[in-house]
């Protein structure tokens, strides 16, 4: 089912749409939770966290005033932030980062850097871009990335190393 259909379904009937959303994205959210919190949670806890994330996604969706342009990005951000919050809570470091507390880039220079870095990342092309996303967004280890993308771990490490060098060089230019 496409994201457009899920969003349409959510709009028409929340129950149906929500069920479709979960069926479609439970594996994906599960992967994020496993990658981010696998080392500090049990399987049962991860199932709970995954369902918490879906409940949070629905809650955020209901309050959302702007149209959602990318459902994947939308649920990814919520999932990753939720995981970070859980991780910090488990380590008694800080309160969970709420959706409302999303830091807004205030400095023009920083804004420029973020945008530039995002664009540079995308310019790496496939499969490097996905590897970077898995590593720095999902928090997956090289071995996990290699398994998921059917690559050798060495290859993943090499691509990350070269990609980092490339990004550094491009940012200097």
């Amino acid at each position: 089912m496409t994201d457009e259909k899920i969003l349409l379904s959510l709009k028409k009937d929340v129950r149906t749409g929500f069920e479709e959303l979960i069926r479609q994205y439970a594996p994906y959210i599960g992967t994020i939770v496993r990658s981010r919190l696998g080392a500090v949670t049990t399987a049962d806890e991860r199932t709970d966290i995954t369902s918490d994330i879906f409940a949070e996604i629905l809650s955020a969706y209901r309050e959302e005033k702007e149209p959602i342009t990318s459902l994947k990005a939308y649920i990814s951000v919520i999932a990753v932030r939720h995981c970070i919050g859980v991780f910090r809570k488990k380590h008694s470091q800080a309160e969970r980062v709420s959706m409302d507390d999303l830091p807004e880039p205030s400095e023009n220079e920083k804004q420029y850097d973020r945008t530039e870095l995002m664009e540079l990342l995308r310019s790496l092309g496939e499969p490097d871009c996905e590897i970077f996303l898995r590593k720095y967004f999902l928090g997956q280890r090289s071995a996990e990335i290699a398994e998921a993308m059917k690559l050798r771990t060495n290859t993943v490490d090499q691509k990350i190393s070269r990609g980092l060098r490339k990004l550094r060089d491009m940012m200097k230019e």
Partner: protein, 360 residues
Amino acid sequence: MEKMLTDLFETASFEELAGFDSELGSIAEHSECEDSETVLAKSMRKAGISRRRLSFRKRLTIMLAAALILIPASVAVAHHINKLEVFFGIEDGNSPYVSEFVKRQAAVENDDAMLVVDGALSDDVCSYIMVSFYAKNEKGRQYIYDIRHKLAGDDERSAERWNDALAPYGNAIYESPLYYNDIYNLVFTQQYKGAMVSHADRVFDESDGAVYYKITIRNDRTDITRPITLIEAFSGLSVDINFVKNAEMIRLVSDDPECFHDVKLSPFALYITFDERDVRYAFSLHSYDYAAKLKNGETVKVDYRYGGNAPAAGNYDVSKHEDWVEMGRYSYCDLVFKNPIDLEEFESIEIDGIVYRPAS
């Protein structure tokens, strides 16, 4: 650089991440869920959304289907109970004899249908008897319905629970048509590893001309010391049964000196029990089709069979000889003819290279 990237993604906005939509899609596509149904149920609950109930139409369909099954079944039960009867008499005794009951063949011959009575019990959990109804037609028999009448035990248990409870003993639900008048290998002997041994004596009652089957159930398990629930189970129970007819039974023999099968032939089926020396046949026999050769040159296909190695589920290690021997004691295989055959016309049947003929 690495920290920068980590910070970048951890604080990325929806819009920023939307630029990576195709990569996210690729990750999502290759993700697997450990327990999606649990996630679904929990998420719905946490979001305060109840799961969808069946639509009215589906519920109506289910109710109608249930009615269509139950109404004819009830009629069938009532019909047969009025015509036929079987008495289970219980005679309590000391160990090793636990109980006896007598099955009485109905005096009324019913050409339209037959009932098949089967039963199962465990030592301390529950017991049930299964009565299957078959209609007889030109094609032989047609399965109609069976009832699994619970006889004792915890009323809360469902049929599935019974199965679970009985599983260690082998096939919990065993369906064995009793076409013939020799029922010595009734299910009880075959379902419980060492628990039950039974035999049946055919008794002709001159006073009313009825044929009785006196079946003795014996408890051979030394670890079961109390009277078995079978006693309570069958006590006072009246179930009707009609054998198709007083089917003749002939014994088949083979020239093969290595053949230790005990093969009996009725017009309806071959009943094969296995000596412990050739238990491996018990397995191989399940895999092939056979045809009986008639004297007129025709062949009759055996189209349905069942059998087993008694309590095979979980109780035996097939790599151990002693377990094979143990299994062999309870191994059986029934090959059922699609249409009844005339015993006088029967010439032979070949099973796995061994030809069986009527004993002279």
